[in-house]
């Protein structure tokens, strides 16, 4: 146990130092992995924990990114201060639209989330309310600045993004082990029994949706600040499909699984660049193969373990 955690710590340390060793291209790839990791973790809450079939997650991402872009370019509010506001706007958006649809069964929910994603994208494309800039999107978004240092290069973004990733992992891990997490686990396993035990299923599903959306909104804020230009084509149905796939590939419901999924989904197409035009063909085949050989995903969640109750006399301790 000691040895594995040492190795783990060593790997993490190596990872944290990697920007110093790699060139900006690979650091940028890692930045993308980080962003997708945050998105994956937020979607994991909805799909993995609450079992809701959400294929429109890119919409929440878009709402967060556009909120940040509009508020920053019009009112000059620094990007990092907008994080809670983006979370709020995405969460609110999710709350409003989720209420009527939360009761829909799996596949119907799927098409509704797809539809919602498309409606958001089309609305953004057509410059709804005149503030989204239409197909050109919004440009001139300021870079984030922390304590006076402006974050510009891929190396600097690396620390910002992966810092946020670590925070996300920490918070979500705590969530999993909290009362909220246990309720989610229950309702995913058997909704009827959960309802019967007093777990308000609709309430928890809605909470997951909102929370997942809020987190995606924050990821959108960082994305907007990094790209400085955002346009509707970055928030297509395909993006939602990618996020969804990375969760299932890595292992739905488990945090290490999502992290691995993010590395695979972003990393594999880059690795497959050697195949040139057949790059995506190989990727598709790889996806099918991975599902066949490891259907729960590569790192599925381990069953929950609970410490055994200690006998009062103090004997028989582990």
């Amino acid at each position: 146990m000691q040895r594995t955690s040492l190795i783990f710590i060593a790997l993490v340390a190596l990872f944290l130092l990697s920007p110093l060793l790699l060139n900006p291209y690979w650091v940028d790839v890692l930045n993308n992995v980080g962003l997708y990791a945050i998105l994956g973790l937020s979607l994991n809450l909805i799909v993995g924990h609450a079992g809701l079939f959400n294929l429109g997650h890119a919409a929440f991402y878009a709402v967060g990114a556009y909120t940040a872009a509009i508020l920053n370019t019009r009112f000059q509010i620094p990007v990092l201060w907008l994080l809670p506001i983006c979370a709020l706007s995405s969460g609110l958006f999710a709350g409003i639209i989720a209420r009527p649809i939360i009761h829909l069964r799996g596949d119907y929910l799927c098409i509704v989330t797809i539809g919602m994603g498309e409606i958001v994208r089309i609305a953004l494309l057509n410059n709804v309310f005149g503030i989204t800039g239409g197909v050109n999107g919004i440009f001139g978004i300021a870079r984030p600045s922390l304590f006076g240092i402006s974050i510009q290069t891929p190396h600097e973004f690396f620390y910002l993004i992966w810092g946020f990733v670590s925070l996300t992992i920490f918070l979500f891990h705590r969530l999993e082990n909290s009362r909220f997490g246990r309720a989610l686990n229950y309702l995913r396993e058997d909704e009827v029994a959960a309802e019967g035990s007093g777990v308000n299923v609709a309430h928890y599903k809605l909470a997951c949706f909102v929370l997942g959306a809020a987190w995606a909104g924050m990821a959108g804020d960082i994305f907007a600040a990094k790209m400085t230009i955002i346009s509707p084509e970055s928030f297509s149905f395909w993006e939602s499909v990618l996020m969804f796939t990375l969760i299932i590939l890595g292992g739905s419901g488990s945090i290490p699984g999502v992290m691995l999924g993010a590395f695979l989904i972003i990393g594999l197409p880059e690795v497959f660049r050697e195949f040139a035009n057949a790059r995506l063909l190989v990727f598709g085949a790889a996806m099918v193969a991975m599902m066949i050989f490891r259907t729960e995903g590569i790192l599925p969640p381990r069953p929950r373990t609970y410490p055994s109750i200690e006998p009062p006399s103090g004997e028989g301790r582990r």
């Binding site: 900006p24 440009f139 230009i229 084509e233």
Partner: protein, 377 residues
Amino acid sequence: MNKMSRVTLAFLVMGLVAWGCAKKETGPIKIGLMGPMTGPWASEGQEMKQVLDLLAEEANGKGGVLGRKVEVVSEDDGGDPKTSALAAQKLVTQKVMAVIGTYGSSITEASQNIYNEAKIVQIANGSTAIRLTEKGLKYFFRTCPRDDEQAKVASQYIQSMGYKKVAILHDNTTYAKGLADETKGLLEKGGAEIVFFDALTPGEKDYTAILTKMKAANPDAVFFTGYYPEGGLLLKQKKEMNWTVPFIGGDATNNPDLVKIAGPEAADGFAFVSPPLPKDLPSPEAKAFLDAFTKKYGKPPASIYSVLAGDGFRVLVAAIQATQSTEADKLAEYLHTKLKDFPGLTGKISFNDKGDRVGEVYKVYKVNAQGEFILQP
């Protein structure tokens, strides 16, 4: 190790480093190419590479540039802004001294800041959105004209044909919408009435609903600013509906497949605005280039944008030779101020201080009954 060997080793290492540095001075000149090698515009990117490879080969055959060989380093931007940013980062890491590319305004836009901050000259060949040169980027140039010029030529043509009620259809891409907006403004200033202005969704097959709606608005002519796949379908379906109103297109409809999709009868009479087709380029350099290209690859280039990429390359090489350096500041200054009327493949090239190409490039073409593109005077 004793002291003597340590000193020797140090000298050896220093020598190697010095040799390595010195070697860099005489190593090949790396020119980057960023283009869509995969994705929806793969045919453009692949042709761009073919053009640059040919030109590099010719330059090296003549002894290279500044006595060094020229090497083209190409990266795929997938026709997508995110991949473009990654491709730009990759080229920067490979220490290219300039980049030619790319095709698609929003894709170029995603890479502009990266090149500018890395102080690398970028010469775009297929990005016509106006705002790309309105940002004050010192190292950005383009050999392709801007959408406002295209709008000007289009509206002049429309007005010269006497069309008073015009319908404008775009497809909600950056390029098409920009062109549509510009043309709308110019036409309205000229006294024409825009009876219809809307966007279709690219990728669909059935546009009869849109055509019916446009027909009900009763325009004298329709200006479609989208791409050739949809253009071909529109022409075909309009003919099936027996609607004979003339259609005019922007330069994204310029592709031989347009006639293939619509059929020569439906395409007959279709007019479009475009930079001259490779076959119509007048200059002797152009003819020599077309011959060489056909000899190497079996057929002439289909797209004018790959030829514009070739012009970017030639202009760059001229700048390097004139300033005897590969430093971005000197090259940028030369291109902005000293390069005048350079004999490009597509005509005379000069850049203004925003980096835009100066001069009139757009012409009007019409399709005849055999499906050929005929240059209008």
